[in-house]
Amino acid sequence: MGSFENLNVDAISNLPADVINNNILARLSLRDAVRTSVLSREWRYKWTFIPEIVFGYEFGRAFLRKHIERIIDQVLSRHQGPINKFVLEEDLILALVKLALMLITGFFYYRIAKSRTSLFPAIFEGFISQCVLLESVNLDECTELDSLEVEGPSLRFFTFRGVFKSIRFKNSPVLAQVSLYTPVQKTREIQLSNCIKYFALLPKLEKLYLHEGLLKPLILRQVSQRDFILVLVSTKMDESPSNTTGSSDVLSSQITVTQLQHQLISVKLSDSNYLVWKQQVLAAVTGLGLESYLTGSMEVPSKLIRDPVTKKTSFNPAYQAYKRQDQLLISWLLSSLSESVLVLMVGLTTCQEMWATLEANFAAQSSAKTMQYKVQLQTMKKGNLSMREYLNKIKICCDNLAASGYKIEDFDQVLHALTGLGNEYDPVVVTITSNPEKWTFKDASALLLSFEARVDSANLITEDGNVPMVNVATHAQPRRNNTAGNFNTNRGRGSFNNRGGRRGSSRGRGGRMFGGRLTCQICGYSNHTADNVSPLTSSLYNSKNTDDNPCQQTTPVPSSVSSSSQPHTASKDTYDTIPLAVELPALEEPSQTNIMPQIESVVPNTHPMQTRGKTGGVPNRFPDSFSSLIVVDLSMYLDSIVEVASFLCLIRSSPKLQMLRVTLCVYRIDGAVTELLRAQETPDRYLNQLRRVEIEVYTYADPLKEFARYVLACAARLEEMVIYDPKPRFSRGSLLNLTNELNRLPRASPSAVIAIRSSIIFF
């Protein structure tokens, strides 16, 4: 029988290790797999390499519960290979604690302190963050948790069913899907508003599911009975030494990776530095003789080789070595990419593919970018930027150009800087251009900065009799890390300016005016002032991204700042006498804001005053938007304005939202909620990308209509709205009525289709 004859020693022992481990043993129950260790010496350790460890449901039944923790400890301590999947299908929080400790420290514990359950949150927190490869966490029926902190560098999926008082996410840069289900009796404790503020820290969030238990009793029961507590993917990093073949090749590749790890790359590839990065990588890789892996000039060994003499096919050790080296190189390359570039690499399995993809993306991008930077450099104007900011912009532009291969000479940089200056800087321009050779960018910067200071103080002195109270926004602070409290800035700075202005001594922030140019107190643009900002624009300002909107500057405001309330409606002729501090009374803060930059609720100008304060401290939107969130699925109580405000906050912070699924569960709608929803009815950028809305109704017609009205009015690209009535509450007649009414509602997207589905079929 061919070349398998030698296997006939016995029927199974000599199958290749990976066949036995990955295929046969992995299909056995854990108990059967462990028992194979007694078959013979050969089998002693085979089971310890199985890739999946499942403590199944029957496991808990068959053995005494009190032993189970010890058993789990035993199994894990014997296991040697990588674990791709770890499942506990029992209500085993205690076991989990030990497991966590064990994975962290590499040891296992037989005894922990008495109050073990209270240990859990702290341990769990550290535990996840230690598992650097952990991708998916699924916690089920966790009733012991007060607060839960989730953290994991590779974490992509997080599911939680159970009760918690608070949940926090941090350092989870790639978390893409969050699902939270809480049982109904605790529903009102865990309000949407208490949870969602933490989601703002998740830059990659794509799907968000928030539900309260009883609404979906069936689904929940199905899931929770069969589901498991914890699934860990790839928790162990250590590789099994005995799985490798071709030892000499393997050895050499391991040497290579050690060397690679020492080849530091000082830059991470981002959008602007491809050429620099490429140079460094190529140098390092070529130095190690591995460049053929990148360029694809290397011939990939096939998995099988044929002996030319005997015509026999067998495994190719060279392939395995190649594969290992390739993967090592990949991991090294990936570590030198910035996050935005990593996205491009998803799904690519070989170095060559990665290299080609990068080349294709950045070669074109580089030339386009170069042009963009050149144009930017030539057209850059100082405008009302501070000198420091303006010079920095020039510098960054030049640096980017240099990174793309176009070095701008030092003096050219100076010239570019001079070109964008206004008339008031003519003396400096003359000075510098009269003797161009001796000026470096640094010297010129120093001169310009000191000249700016002179101009500022001169302006103040000349206007001293008529103190400039106007808050000319000069935005000297960095614009990142802003919070939603747009008006806070103005409040804080406003008071500062006022004081400074009255004393007439402060030349910094406030009263700087060039050529009598007025600058808007809200947005910092110079061609209008706050009094002629249209209501729509000013409400848009509240929604704009922090990047492009200078209005959204917030510095943490000490609560002691005075809160004299001045509406944003001062007319132009009062400018010189009335401080234009735009202020809102400080709304009550949610108690746990310590991890977030300070957020205060801000109601846009256009809103009636009385809706303020009722939103219970929910911010208008989050400081950082969820730039990748596309699916939101949540349940909402329409009778609570806090819930609705939280919902709106979430929506406003999700510019890419495409699919929205809402379970509405309330019987009547609060007047304030109606008001709040109606106030939103402008087709704006909030729901711009929304294609599909599903509304599941546990409510009567009025709240539903209000909500549908809001969505229809706002979503400009809506394709379909499906209303689902699972209970069903509506008779056929009222359904028809409802359909008619909904169809009559004004809508931003003319092509939107409204469909109503009921679980009862009417004849």
Partner: protein
């Protein structure tokens, strides 16, 4: 078992491949079926002629694998039919046959068949006494009685033999 001398000319559409087993018999396989095997696919991409010699797969095993590949390459069949074919395919086969199948599928890298067969093999071993497995697969017990007892003691939880079968 189709034997043929026709070697598809290079200019013609690449429709079928000839696979020769270690016993020397040749099988005509449509290319769409052959590429379901990752290894064959790779060979086909590199090699010019349409004859592939598999030196460690015998007639019987190869015929089974090819039957499987052809069924799964058939677009006319629904997924349900294919699934029931899989069930049928492994049922009633001797452990020996399965062993060669799993080796062949591993060599040829036919993942889904490898999975199905390994599952079947695992099912055979499921809930069986160690003694039964040793007997059935001719595994020589080379432990001393003391060593074996020691191992059993280590993982005592796995040795609750009450529900295990010995037939």
């Amino acid at each position: 078992m189709v034997t043929t001398d026709e070697k598809g000319p290079l200019t013609a559409k690449k429709k079928s491949v000839i696979i020769r087993s270690c016993d020397g018999d040749e099988f005509l396989v449509s290319e769409s079926a052959a590429v379901l095997s990752t290894s064959l696919k790779k060979i086909l991409e590199e090699k010019e002629d349409r004859l592939i010699h598999l030196s460690d797969i015998d007639n019987k095993t190869l015929a089974m694998v090819i039957a499987y590949l052809s069924t799964h390459a058939d677009d006319g069949l629904s997924d349900d039919l294919k699934r029931s074919f899989d069930q049928e395919f492994v049922s009633g086969k001797e452990f020996d046959v399965l062993k060669y199948l799993v080796l062949a599928t591993d060599t040829l890298q036919v993942t889904c068949l490898c999975y199905t067969v390994a599952k079947k093999m695992a099912d055979i071993m499921k809930n069986k006494l160690v003694e039964w497995v040793r007997r059935e697969f001719d595994i020589q017990n080379d432990y001393t009685p003391e060593a074996e007892a020691e191992i059993r003691r280590l993982d005592a939880w796995a040795w609750d033999d009450r529900q295990l079968e010995d037939d």
